[in-house]
Amino acid sequence: MVQNLQKLCSMMTEKIFLQIINSLRAEATEEVSLDSPEREPILSSEPSPAVTPVTPTTLIAPRIESKSLSAPVIFDRSREEIEEEANGDVFDIEIGVSDPEKVGDGMNAYMAYRVTTKTSLSMFSKSEFSVKRRFSDFLGLHSKLASKYLHVGYIVPPAPEKSIVGMTKVKVGKEDSSSTEFVEKRRAALERYLQRTVKHPTLLQDPDLRQFLESSELPRAVNTQALSGAGILRMVNKAADAVNKMTIKMNESDAWFEEKQQQFENLDQQLRKLHASVEALVCHRKELSANTAAFAKSAAMLGNSEDHTALSRALSQLAEVEEKIDQLHQEQAFADFYMFSELLSDYIRLIAAVKGVFDHRMKCWQKWEDAQITLLKKRETEAKMMVANKPDKIQQAKNEIREWEAKVQQGERDFEQISKTIRKEVGRFEKERVKDFKTVIIKYLESLVQTQQQLIKYWEAFLPEAKAIA
């Protein structure tokens, strides 16, 4: 009975949602179209094990040309999104983060990124615009959104982490490959962060987000510095929260929440393990690439010293092949990292945010409980006053009772609201997760396939040379 009521409530809020923002018809139709049968054959690779990619060779061909070593765009307009548009969706906003530029010098230097938005949503004044933002701006955005939405149960995507070591290297001006890698990694992370944030329909409506995307000048978010007063306050709050969590013993009336929490715990553990394995793979592949390069050089020298001409030529060819393979391994390592590993670490952080939301629900419940307890105490006081027959105190007690009754009601409402929001959010999160994982893993597998294709080409070219040794 309660659940039916909740479902009804959620449907009604949706209707209100739709009425207020009529350009965002997406929500309902999105949820429907994700489950509709016509999408199954496109998304699933279940029918035959030999079918690897969702997208046919069209995606493989252009990849051969683009040998640039920048992180691939994960949230490309895939066929699924175009399908959604055909259904009448206008969820159309594309965000790109590009052109990292170093501004300033010495320890005050920072990297400025260009944030480009392409959209057809009416709430934005233009259809295409870009602004320059720095990392602390992103952090500021996140903290604003978190303070507004986290405690009501919305899963706010976490921002990329600070890295003092990485940034110092960039600031100091070391122009080596590790600092360029760091900047590239950060740029990709910022892009994913923004894309996740705008995908959330509630967050998209937020004026802070809009200001972030649109306005050319943004007030500097100073509260994001690690060693500022606000930073220390945050740390203290976090510690207090952790202690509280241990002491709150919540009376869970809804098995759904308990189950979900357990699930997320499991998922967290599994993802962490997987992430560790993938990082090891990235490391080993980089090692393999370095070793292959060393071997290629050595083989070339061997070919030089060999006096049998055909064998010498074959050995030099072998050296060349190995060099190309080394390049291939490097690219594969890149793909490993940017697609797979970063996806996993993003989700590990997202799950932390989800857990945070569950914790907020607990705190809400605690508030409600406290209010109830206080109300009880006030009623007891009133009763005592009645017995002692002190009219003015009785009136005061009655006032307090009314106040606390209202608080109890508010607490109950808040608790139910947060529970409802969490349910919706978790449902949305799960769908997003499924979609994300499928897309990224498929892309990753495609990259593996492509590596094999290239390997075939190289060895096929080498074989006649080897055969030609007289």
């Binding site: 690779s45 793979l281 080993h284 393999l288 075939i456």
Partner: protein
């Protein structure tokens, strides 16, 4: 060719074919055929069953087998080296000692860590380690076999008495490994030899052919050493990457079984895929190891043997020249002329004998080397292609 996806038979047969092929151009004539038909691995010893088929009159039977251990192979090799008559030939390099330590360590670590992994992971890793053990075992058998075949194919060495005893005497040769004193002696001998080698190499050779060969071999040997080391490292990282696939596969499997959404089937499928990929990658690295690293390692040892031959020749050349000088001195003083003459004669003969056979040996070495490289490189390319195509289809 069957695209065998199970590890068992396919793995073995490929290796068999590959390893026998390190030495091409062995005239397998009916006169003398040697092979290792069986091998047993005990605690820290490996017992090889050496099987001979021969139509030569010196042997009592036409076909027989004996059991030998690694030390006995080394004894045979050393007897060749110490034999002055064989100074003019490239002595086939001795097979390396069977080394299962690394593999045994890993098995032990696996046993200790059994509690921390899931059942599937444990069985998978155990299978892997067993396959590795098997591979090392087969490799060492093959190397011992190659040594014997080389000796049997050499026109002079095959007639060696020690060799016949080795093949035929069906009781224990009671060859003990060198004790500490002898090992120390060996060490000093080696040092003296290398010092001597430096002195001797300063002498310019009259014969252009040998001079050229000497410079060539020196350089070649160094480069082969380098290439062999790098190739080793490459195959090792390849193997660790393949191991990672294994772990990723099992994590994905765990994710798939625990997930409640419809992505679980997807995960299971991807985990299967990773498993297959791992098997293929492991095989790729094993093949690379076989064709490339082993080839280079073998030629490292062979080129060392060839260098030794050249050294012995230069040594005898120096002796010859010294004898000449002594003879001149003796003639000048007119003392002990006959003695000096005979010693000079001896040196001259020795030197010429060595030079003759050395020339032929070195030419043979080159032909063999070229053929072996060709065969292995071709097979390497073909195998890589085959694996890449299989994983592409998967």
């Amino acid at each position: 060719m069957m695209e065998g996806l199970d590890d068992g038979p396919d793995f073995l047969s490929e290796e068999d074919r590959g390893l026998k092929a390190i030495n091409v151009d062995l005239q397998s004539d009916a006169a003398l055929q040697v092979d290792i038909s069986d091998a047993l691995s005990e605690r820290d010893k490996v017992k090889f069953t050496v099987h001979t088929k021969s139509s030569l009159p010196n042997f009592k039977q036409n076909e027989f087998s004996v059991v030998r251990q690694h030390e006995e192979f080394i004894w045979l090799h050393d007897s060749f080296i110490e034999n002055e008559d064989y100074a003019g030939y490239i002595i086939p390099p001795a097979p390396p000692r069977p080394d299962f330590d690394a593999s045994r360590e890993k098995l032990q670590k696996l046993g200790e860590g059994e509690g921390s992994m899931t059942k599937e992971e444990f069985t998978k890793m155990k299978q892997e380690l067993e396959a590795e053990y098997l591979a090392i075992f087969k490799k060492t058998v093959a190397m011992h076999e190659v040594f014997l075949c080389r000796v049997a194919a050499h026109p002079i060495l095959r007639k060696d008495l020690n060799f016949h005893v080795f093949l035929e005497y069906n009781q224990d040769l009671s060859v003990r490994g060198k004790n500490k004193k002898e090992k120390l002696e060996d060490f000093f001998k080696n040092m003296v030899k290398s010092a001597d080698g430096v002195i001797v190499s300063g002498v310019k050779d009259v014969d252009d052919f040998f001079e050229h060969e000497r410079t060539f071999l020196l350089e070649y040997h160094n480069r082969v050493k380098d290439a062999s080391a790098k190739s080793d490292r490459m195959t090792r990282s390849h193997k660790s990457a393949a191991d990672d696939y294994n772990r990723i596969g099992s994590s994905l499997y765990a994710l798939g079984t625990q997930d409640s959404t419809d992505i679980c089937k997807f995960f299971l499928k991807v985990s299967e895929l990773f498993d297959k990929t791992r098997k293929i990658e492991a095989r790729v690295s094993a093949d690379e190891d076989l064709k490339l690293s082993d080839l280079l390692k073998y030629y490292l040892r062979e080129s060392q043997a060839a260098k030794d031959l050249l050294y012995r020749r230069s040594r005898s050349l120096v002796d010859y020249e010294n004898a000449n000088k002594a003879l001149d001195k003796a003639r000048a003083k007119n003392k002990d002329v006959l003695q000096a003459e005979t010693s000079q004669q001896l040196c001259c003969q020795k030197f010429e004998k060595i030079s003759e056979s050395a020339k032929q040996e070195l030419i043979d070495f080159k032909t063999r080397r070229v053929a072996a490289f060709r065969k292995n490189l071709v097979e390497l390319a073909e195998l890589e292609l085959k694996h890449a195509k299989v994983s592409f289809v998967t």
